[in-house]
């Protein structure tokens, strides 16, 4: 029974952290290269423009929910299950979500990299 809670927490963490990463990446692409903007307008313009992007706040909120799901998940399941399972599934979910929602071209090179890293994260927890 406890396992179901742990996997529910893992599912929630993967869902919210992927949503957060995609929203934050989308927002920063809308803002554009912040290094360039910093050189032209100064650091305040960078902060102002990032904060005025509505999807940025949504992304932060999703990251916050992911963080608290992790805390509650850790109280239901083992550290050695929750952290590696959610981290490696997030790598795969991010590759799929970036392809669908951000229209990134996830070629063979990036798929292999994402799967190598996801596999490595699992092994590190064994």
């Amino acid at each position: 029974m406890k396992d179901i809670y742990a996997w529910a927490a893992i599912g929630l963490i993967v869902l919210t952290s992927t949503t957060g990463d995609v929203l934050l990446s989308y927002s920063m692409k809308r803002v554009g290269d912040v290094g360039e903007l910093w050189k032209r307008r100064g650091v305040l313009a960078v902060v102002g423009r990032v904060l005025r992007t509505p999807t940025f706040a949504l992304g932060l909120m999703a990251m916050g929910i992911a963080f608290y799901s992790l805390l509650f998940g850790l109280s239901w399941g083992n550290l050695s299950l929750i952290v590696p399972a959610s981290a490696s599934l997030s790598f795969a979910a991010n590759a799929v979500a970036a392809r669908i929602f951000l229209h990134e071209r996830v070629g063979r090179r990036r798929w292999i990299a994402a799967l190598l890293v996801a596999g490595g994260v699992v092994l590190m927890a064994v």
Partner: protein, 148 residues
């Protein structure tokens, strides 16, 4: 990719590792805290610990670098390229906190390092399919300014 951009990617891994290590060091002072609503005050007071405060400041630096990287590189590039974080954390656990690292863990470290090398050797940003299809120029605020 310029040298400055590689520095930002390195900043993501280093700040995240150092921030997490300082947090771990600070939380050891507090002893075992069961994460639940009853211990909320203990968790809130944890930020007064100097190690924890320093850790949070470094994690803020990590977040700034992460946002900067996402402004000029693909998400599917930034995430694998900065996963050396897992390797650095393991090394700090081994040599800083004297935790044991099993052979399977070393194998995991090797896989992650291989993944990082794989993605870092490729392009950091790919033209989106939508832009390619319609030959539409980049619509982000900064590139429009640069043009005008």
């Amino acid at each position: 990719m310029t040298f400055r951009k590689y520095l930002v990617l390195a900043g993501i891994t280093v700040f995240a590792t150092a921030g997490d290590s300082l947090l771990a060091r600070g939380m050891k002072d507090l002893g075992n805290v069961n994460v639940s609503l009853h211990n909320l005050s203990a968790l809130l007071l944890a930020i007064l610990n100097p190690w924890v405060t320093a850790g949070i400041l470094l994690l803020l630096a990590f977040f700034a670098c992460y946002m900067s990287a996402l402004s000029w590189a693909d998400l599917t590039y930034v995430l694998p390229a900065t996963s050396l974080y897992y390797v650095l954390v393991a090394l700090i656990a081994r040599f800083g906190f004297h935790e044991e690292i099993s052979p399977t863990r070393w194998l995991g470290i090797a896989l992650i390092a291989a993944g990082v090398g794989f993605v870092a050797a490729g392009p950091s940003v790919t033209p989106s399919r939508r832009h390619l299809d319609s030959h539409e120029p980049c619509r982000d605020a900064v590139s429009q300014e640069v043009k005008s």
